[in-house]
């Protein structure tokens, strides 16, 4: 799988409250609605202007804070194709994979990418290309990649349990 997209660049410690405010956790429950609030308290322009396949590039500890899965869901439904960061908070990491949203951890690449540029990511080869060059990153562990390739944890669990679609 490989994708190409325009970059939205942010800093360190982008937390789940600025990605998806806590006040919406039980009032905004539809994924398309969630998408309208994506990154609301960090960058109010994001949800309005994000396009399908855009890529978020951020610093350390992306997604720190709450376990709320909506932080990953809202970005996924906003059209984000992947997130590249120096590091990810652990629950966000799991939530994103479980929503079928691919993540790339690559410190070097982050330093060399600027906002608005077009970058491409090849997940199988573990390769990211941007204006300043090509950067390699270790691919995700096989078991984790399996969840991602199945489109997230719920479809993956259905597959494990041998439940056919629509069952």
């Amino acid at each position: 799988m490989s994708i190409k997209g325009r970059v939205w660049k942010y800093g360190d410690d982008v937390n789940t409250d600025v990605i998806f405010p806590g006040k919406y956790t039980y009032t905004v429950t539809n994924p398309e609605e969630m998408a309208k609030h994506a990154l609301e308290d960090l960058d109010p322009e994001f949800a309005k202007e994000v396009e399908k396949g855009d890529i978020i590039v951020a610093g350390r500890n992306f997604g720190c804070g709450s376990s709320r899965e909506q932080a990953a869901t809202c970005l996924k439904y906003a059209g984000v194709g992947a997130i590249v960061a120096k590091s990810f908070a652990r629950i966000f990491f799991r939530n994103a994979i479980n929503q079928g949203l691919p993540l790339v951890q690559c410190k070097k690449a982050v330093k060399n990418i600027s906002s608005d540029e077009l970058i491409s990511v090849d997940f199988e080869k573990g390769r990211l290309s941007c204006k300043k060059g090509i950067f390699n990153f270790p691919p995700l562990p096989e078991s984790v990649l399996g969840i991602l390739n199945d489109g997230g944890l719920i479809p993956h669990t259905r597959k494990i349990l041998g439940i056919e679609k629509g069952g």
Binding site: D17, V18, S87, H156
Partner: protein, 419 residues
């Protein structure tokens, strides 16, 4: 070479002889916790396409995030949860008159040393205070565990934090953990197990250890852990008759890092807006005007926290410009505080006593802030927008500092209130 607590317990729970940090294992959790998010999880469970949860006896569900329901939407959410637990035969359900999940689970005897506890809440790390391996997970993961009884985990490396010295007057476990988070950073323990040890921990109450493990999440930790001792055993004896086996790190275990702190000269600490690791000594921030003061949450809403606050407020009135909200962490704490006259003192000094719940901590319910307002809170997060308003500021401190500050209407060094 010996093994860490994390390695030993994950070997045990994955049915392997031995595992090492970095390895990915499939485990069967003993306890799976979810709260008001249970309705959303039940919808994901439905998408999986099976009718019944695999182990209803392992599931614990307290309602706490918005209790009682603030609007029709929240009320419907609660209703769906009540119907779900009924249908699934989930007996460990605690309705709105019980308390905050991380206080309720230990109180009701669901947390045992050597248990693997996973919860759809980032502060699930709290239960490490009892020697459990307890980590936060997401909603889809809880649904998947309900269906399969299993989940993958990466075996974390362990950072050991030794805390020595004598805690000075006016300094509390909250100050210690804030100091550590400020020192190590919001990602200082990312993906790691954090084992708290040393003389200060041995002397610390179970409640104080819960505060430390609770906030381990704020430096990115997967779990917090305190080796069980007499205090743990004593607490558990009053909560459960179930048997348990204590799991601890071997003396020659391989820790990724060992960090030593001496708290003898520590001042009260404050986490400043808008990150938990933006920590300063109180002397650097005294005088900042506050509009709201909050004592409660899963971090600091226990009986000892309320007692500390009422001792400081006793016979005094809070400053006119301040709203002091007190949320006992559970109904049990509420009742005990009532019997001990703590609530009476707090009310007399001008506090508003709320029912147990998480509400204001995540901006879901009660005590929301207006633009330009400042709140000093005993909670664990001060992110922008956290208490419902992105143009408000949240400072975090110990219950003692919050109580003292509510007297003066500004951030105050609690040591000036001590005789």
């Amino acid at each position: 070479m010996g093994k860490t607590f994390a390695e030993k317990i994950l070997a045990l729970k994955s049915g392997k002889e031995s595992v090492s940090s970095g390895e990915i294992v499939t485990v069967s959790p003993d306890v799976v916790m979810s709260h008001d998010n249970t309705a959303a999880i039940s919808k994901k469970f439905k998408q999986i396409g099976i009718d019944k949860v695999m182990h209803p006896e392992r599931i614990v569900i307290p309602l706490d995030h918005c209790v009682p329901a603030a609007t029709e939407k929240y009320a419907l959410n609660h209703k769906e949860i009540r119907e779900f637990v009924q249908k699934q035969g989930i007996r460990n359900f605690y309705d709105i008159n019980t308390g905050v999940c991380h206080q309720v689970l230990p109180e009701k005897g669901h947390i045992l040393p050597g248990a693997l506890v996973l919860g759809a809440d980032s502060h699930t790390t709290t239960y490490g205070a009892f020697g459990a391996f307890a980590a936060g997970i997401g909603r889809s993961e809880v649904a998947s565990i309900w269906a399969t009884g299993k989940i993958w985990l990466r075996v974390p490396e362990t950072i050991k934090i030794n805390i020595e010295g004598e805690i000075p007057k006016g300094v509390h476990p909250k100050d210690i953990i804030l100091y550590i988070i400020g020192n190590l950073g919001a990602d200082g323990a990312l993906y790691k197990a954090v084992e708290f040890s040393g003389k200060v921990i041995r002397n610390m109450s179970v409640g104080g250890r819960m505060t430390l493990c609770n906030m381990a999440a704020e430096m990115g930790a997967k779990i917090g852990y305190v080796e069980p001792d007499e205090k743990t055993i004593q607490y558990l004896a009053s909560r459960t008759g179930r048997e348990y086996k204590i799991v601890k790190s071997d003396a020659d275990a391989e820790f990724e890092r060992i960090i030593d702190y001496d708290v003898s000269d520590l001042e009260p600490q404050i986490a400043c807006p808008h990150t938990v690791d933006n920590v300063k000594s109180v002397s650097e921030v005294v005088g900042i005007k506050i509009n709201q003061a909050l004592i409660g949450t899963c971090t600091n809403g226990r009986i000892e926290d309320l007692k500390i606050a009422s001792d400081i407020l006793q016979g005094k009135k809070i400053s006119k410009g301040v709203r002091l909200l007190v949320f006992p962490a559970s109904m049990e704490v509420f009742a005990e505080a009532m019997e001990e006259g703590i609530l009476q003192e707090l009310v007399k000094s001008g506090a508003v006593i709320m029912n147990p719940g998480c509400g204001p901590c995540l901006g879901a319910h009660e005590g929301a802030l207006a633009p330009g307002e400042v709140c000093l809170s005993t909670a664990n997060r001060n992110f922008k927008g956290r208490m419902g308003c992105k143009d408000a500021e949240i400072y975090l401190a110990s219950p003692a500092t919050v109580a003292a500050s509510s007297l003066y209407g500004k951030i105050t060094d609690v040591r000036r209130c001590l005789k």
